[in-house]
Symmetry: D2
Subunit: 318 residues, 4 copies
């Protein structure tokens, strides 16, 4: 039985996944796109065909600035370089000298609060990133010398599928709890949907709902996520991206001797791009109302060069 | 004749536009969305219906980091909070202590190099922003207390239309040169397309192509843009957003006694959201190849709260 | 009796101080230096004459980076632009390409944790800063158009005097508790020292010791400081700077209808520069050991142009 | 003859200096202070004894913000978190809600424009920093795990000596030109001063004067500095710090196969702390007027933890 097997996955089993689930070389030795290769024009057209109502829904969390969230030491920064203050009394010459209100925005978007994309360059295993490149390509001074987020310059437009595990279980999942492959199977059955190659798979654990209810709920208290046991399932279905309403690794770690095992197997082994810290609450409602858990998804990272990811606002269209 | 008339638009004529083209109150006294109200579910469905090939094209410029571009005093910042360096020789305990490569990203996205959205709160006229709110709502400490970019949380999905004025004229437009309403009419005719309510109108002057050819080409040497004389045209057609491959105001200013007149009339008077500093080069090629200048456009700003805009990567889908 | 009087200072009494203690015009109508004018070459020479042991002591708090302190939403930032990682295995060409380890440092130094100087431009009263200049000189875009910290480019070298009120009272002072003028008198007597014109006066409440003991001790729980009732005393003695181991205003506010009254009277009325958030623990020990509470003090702000202050590390020399 | 010898210093000769001039172990195997050990209380007292006039002079350059200087890609940042704008018309409740004008200040202080201290942790040689520690102690995430600038928390107070080589030569030195040991000898003789153990030695090449005259004068056009041939002289005299009005290494590099050789030998081999990018113009005038090139020097870095240096404003007192 798969359940028993997955529950006893040892470190060696996880390490083996890096070979058995590997996509290294699958799209050529120079490939940097990994699973994004699975999003073809035909796939995009099929995604477009899912739209019926013309209703769009964000899958991102709001970004509060200059405010601390749980688990954040550096909050998203916003500094105004000009404001509107006093413009109603500015003398004419000053009116002309002032420009528009504008701001500096800064953030360490990787972390636990901002919805963002991870490129394969975000993670390492034994000195390598996806497709066998050296870790030393990702430098302090130059940033990501390969597998940068700018590879997604034209965005990712594909079929999105939500598997709402919190709804399946009838409760918000707990810290340290993993979504198991049998949960994915059960959700597919309950929702009458099937995950297919090139899909952007979104998994709702309910973690963000819990966080909204208790805003200072710290991630160090743990979070649910897809268990590493799901990796063969993801590989078999050939998803293009995996997004969750958490940090995408069960916490506390299922395999503390290895670290964030989903990140390692997905990013390094499979070249599977991740969406961390999603907000799937409105999406879940929109799906439930329609009894339809598939939709067109558009995700457009900023065209940051030499970057291991980007903050992003994925848009589902029904 | 309109040409003659527009060429002699005085300051008073521009100021009058703030009344004659005003959308204040049109969608209620509490409205903050302005022309985005014109993007309805029906409009989105029609936009989706334009997709035939499943080909996506970015309308954003790449964002180089820690590099100076022309006209930028503060370049987009990228500081790594961890890199891949040395991970191939890290001892096991250090492997576990290091997290993923990650970066701080910071930028003053308003300005002359980054593709971004302007909300109505970005500009002021006689102490007011769109719909008559006080300029004092936009503060140094709290940011945009109204008309923040987070209003677009669910993205803008609509029909996009490119009017390729550079192609029409057969040359890259010059500094200080304005796109006139008769240019818009001529482009519509040449391209056999008509701009309609709720459209995201993109206007190509060729400025970014010139900039790519001479990367240090400074904006202080000027740039073309839509002339303020086009504002009645935009209002009549009821576009939802205006995007250009420049800063969206002719430079040197057509009306130096008033400042950036397109920004003032569009943002303050009409509540017309702008896309500044677009990259319409790939888009223009994609349109010309298909002899089709309309497409589905998805634009998803970051969900920044209290912000006068957001960097953005608009995606056209053919 | 002074005690009774000072304890019943009303808002009007504080507002009157802005006239009665005013230094506006005292050093000319163009003056920006305020009480720093009191530090003359003769004063500096006398300060030098106080040195006997050749022992130096910092009056600044350490600056932890990327760590939250109490009452801080934006911690001091440190981002490495290069590190030492992996240099032991860099190939020769990479050795040459890498430069020194280096960092970006950033901070909002005003606030509750970093030892810093306030210039008179930091505070306002009825639209004015010290010496009657308009508040509108301090702009979002250009910073401090007057009374910038760069005025202290050659540093402040003067006699420093510590009045150790915590030692006098035999306890760390409490939140909301004000140092009163009679405390200053008593400390002078107990320490056998007299505050004189041009001195940098440092007042120890013990707040930082309390904070060290409970690092997350939040300022919103309040802090002691010199009470505004001390302002006439400071003016009479003609001190050049006032430094405390707190934020320099009693919290909760003694006059909530006015705000930070010590800041207002000192900075705006008197042009008296402040040192906020000092660390007087080592200094107090050094003084007590020597039974001598006077010393040479050197304070050298960064030469920041257009700034309302600077982080600083004042050095006492015994 | 020394001249001939030094002019033909090969790479091997420089590498040998790392052994022959080494201070590793001199102050114990746990030492991090390096040559700062040479500044004793007795030395400080002697420094104090040099003060006669009570005149203080900055040795730092002004720091312009949000402005590009030559050779700078990231200018020092200043973002106001509140300004004075409009405070003259704020309604009462807003007066109370606004706090003082304040700013975020940020900078990559290492580089070519800001006067700053280098700690030994700033540079590496064959995987080591001063006293044999591993380069891997200086990490992207944690910063300087050893030899951080906070070691100088109590400041450096010592005798300062200016050797004015530009005055000696009667001209501003040229790009690529090295100050040679015989220049140091000649300046000592001409100025009738002798550099002694524990001194902070300041060398004026005139580079900053040239830069002031042509503000965009780029360092990539090169700069003068002390030649690596001076290192034995510095070691023999046992200086505590070396400061120059340049980046402290001749540019273009004298030994391009090794890199910044003065930095390597000084920081790694000798544990000799550097002051880069000084401003010695006012100092040179103050010295020449008095015909005295020795003075008391106080240097107080910010108490940045885990940092490889600090911006600083060294103060000379005559």
């Amino acid at each position: 039985m798969r359940t028993a097997a997955t529950k006893t996955l040892g470190e060696d089993d996880v390490i083996k996944m890096l070979s058995t689930l590997s996509n290294w070389g699958r799209w050529g030795k120079d490939d940097e796109l990994g699973t994004i290769n699975l999003v073809t024009p035909a796939k995009r057209k099929r995604a477009v065909g899912l739209v019926r109502d013309g209703v769009s829904v964000s899958c991102a969390r709001p970004i509060a600035t200059n405010e601390l969230a749980a688990d954040t030491t550096i909050p998203p920064l916003r500094f105004m370089v000009d404001s509107g203050e006093g413009r109603d009394h500015d003398p004419p010459e000053r009116v002309l000298a002032r420009r528009g209100a504008a701001e500096f925005i800064g953030m360490v978007f990787h972390g636990y609060t901002i919805t963002h994309v991870d490129t394969p360059a975000h993670y390492f295993w034994r000195g390598k990133i996806y497709n066998g490149r050296s870790c030393n390509l990702i430098t302090s001074r130059e940033g990501a010398g390969a597998e940068s987020v700018d590879l997604l310059h034209d965005g990712v437009v594909s079929r999105g599928v939500l598997l709402d595990i919190a709804a399946l279980k009838g409760r918000l999942m707990d810290s340290g709890e993993g979504v198991m492959p049998e949960d994915l199977d059960a959700a597919e059955k309950a929702q009458d949907v099937r995950v297919e190659p090139g899909d952007v798979l979104l998994i709702r654990t309910g973690y963000y709902a819990r966080r909204l209810a208790t805003p200072r709920h710290p991630l160090k208290d743990g979070s649910p996520a897809a268990h590493v046991a799901c990796m063969p399932w993801f590989r078999e279905r050939d998803i293009a991206m995996l997004g969750t309403d958490t940090h995408n690794d069960v916490s506390p770690a299922t395999h503390p001797g290895l670290g964030n095992v989903v990140h390692i197997v997905a990013l390094v082994g499979m070249g599977l791009w991740l969406i961390d810290n999603g907000n799937l609450e409105e999406l879940a409602k929109a799906c439930a109302e329609r009894r339809r858990w598939e939709f067109m998804l558009t995700l457009a990272p900023l065209r940051l060069q030499h970057a291991t990811g980007s903050p992003v606002n994925p848009i589902a269209l029904f």
